[in-house]
Symmetry: C2
Subunit: 192 residues, 2 copies
């Protein structure tokens, strides 16, 4: 997605050869117009698939997911990483491992909001090691719903997540695919 | 806001005489079309105020805030309740006390995203004890920016938050104002 790639080049900051900071428009400050364009793009790529609902995870997945839900005219459910005041129903849960923190966390979605009739589009902001995406796939599969595909805003193609998902036969649509963050510059896959 | 009140009556669940559960359209599952209408309503109420940016707090404030930001064509910043991978800049922080959990937490926003030139609209999903709203006001004031007002989706008028903010001279626009959750029914302020 050209607009997104341009935004990454002008407003993204490379923190290390593993980490791209996009706090100015996606992860802390949010650019609503860009989110709308991202939502529209996901809606285009997953049109005609009979998607009934979008599943994402708090917090950075919410804005892109809600915009996609608006264009597709379907509800959006976000997985919780921690207990909340009203998250008290029967829960579908999955474990998500963090390599950086070397810890495993549980994520949850109420059974009420994904049923076996659903056709689910998973959306998240980053695809890196893929643990969060795999956790969301696990939850959707537990409910009996179909995983139609995964929409990712920024994929770090040099990390394992994209490959793991592809090897599971899951369709992944990433709006920006980063081949490398080495030597202080962002190199997209299509530039190679 | 009539549409919101109707949604609360049909899809809200009263958990106790203190707590209204709206997980089916606001706090876990999100109704994007409703969020868009909520965003439009906030944009209308705070039009012509020269608002430059919206400040909210993860997670449930994000969807309403992003829709308001879309209508007002301004950026949205969400306060973090916990460290994140890229939240490493100089931070503005505030303490937020939880009466239920009897604990105090720190919320943060990077100094980069609120400066003294800004005119800030704060948006959040619920106004109850007001601690989160007060924390956001504190952060905005630390930056030197002006607090133009606070937009709340659901205000529980029987709790102290609304009154505390009013007593500080802060303009609060709540789209639904609940006078009571007693006896298993939602009573809005304008129904009394
Ligand atoms: N900005 C940025 N973030 C990255 C990058 N690579 C991974 N992340 C984010 O970091 C978080 C993952 O950290 P960990 O759970 O510790 O996982 P990991 O060490 O196995 O990668 C996720 O945030 P999250 O769960 O999405 O958090 P939130 O923002 O939704 O709160 C993920 O999206 C990157 O290059 N840049
Ligand atoms: N559904 C619902 N939620 C209520 C109600 N009253 C307060 N809350 C939410 O509960 C959370 C506040 O809990 P605490 O921090 O423990 O505060 P408190 O005990 O002093 O009220 C906030 O969630 P939050 O920080 O907004 O969490 P998140 O949803 O953004 O993750 C607030 O919005 C209510 O009647 N119904």
């Amino acid at each position: 997605m050209r607009l997104l790639e341009e935004k990454i080049k002008t407003d993204g900051t490379i923190i290390s050869d593993q980490v791209l900071k996009v706090d100015s428009f996606l992860n802390h400050q949010i650019d609503p117009v860009l989110m709308k364009e991202i939502g529209k793009e996901f809606a285009l790529r997953f049109a005609n698939e009979g998607v009934t609902k979008i599943v994402t995870i708090e917090s950075s997945g919410i804005a892109p997911a809600v915009m996609a839900g608006l264009y597709m005219d379907i509800p959006v459910v976000f997985a919780r990483k921690r207990k909340s005041l009203t998250l008290i129903d029967d829960l579908l849960t999955a474990s998500v491992h963090s390599f950086t923190k070397n810890e495993t966390n549980e994520i949850s979605i109420s059974k009420k909001y994904i049923t076996e009739e659903d056709r689910i589009l998973i959306i998240d902001d980053f695809l890196a090691n893929g643990q969060a995406a795999l956790g969301l796939v696990d939850i959707v599969q537990q409910s009996g719903a179909a995983v139609i595909g995964i929409g990712i805003v920024i994929e770090k193609s040099f990390q394992q997540g994209a490959e793991i998902l592809a090897s599971q036969g899951i369709r992944v649509e990433s709006l920006a695919r980063i081949a490398s963050l080495a030597e202080g510059k962002v190199e997209f896959l299509n530039e190679k």
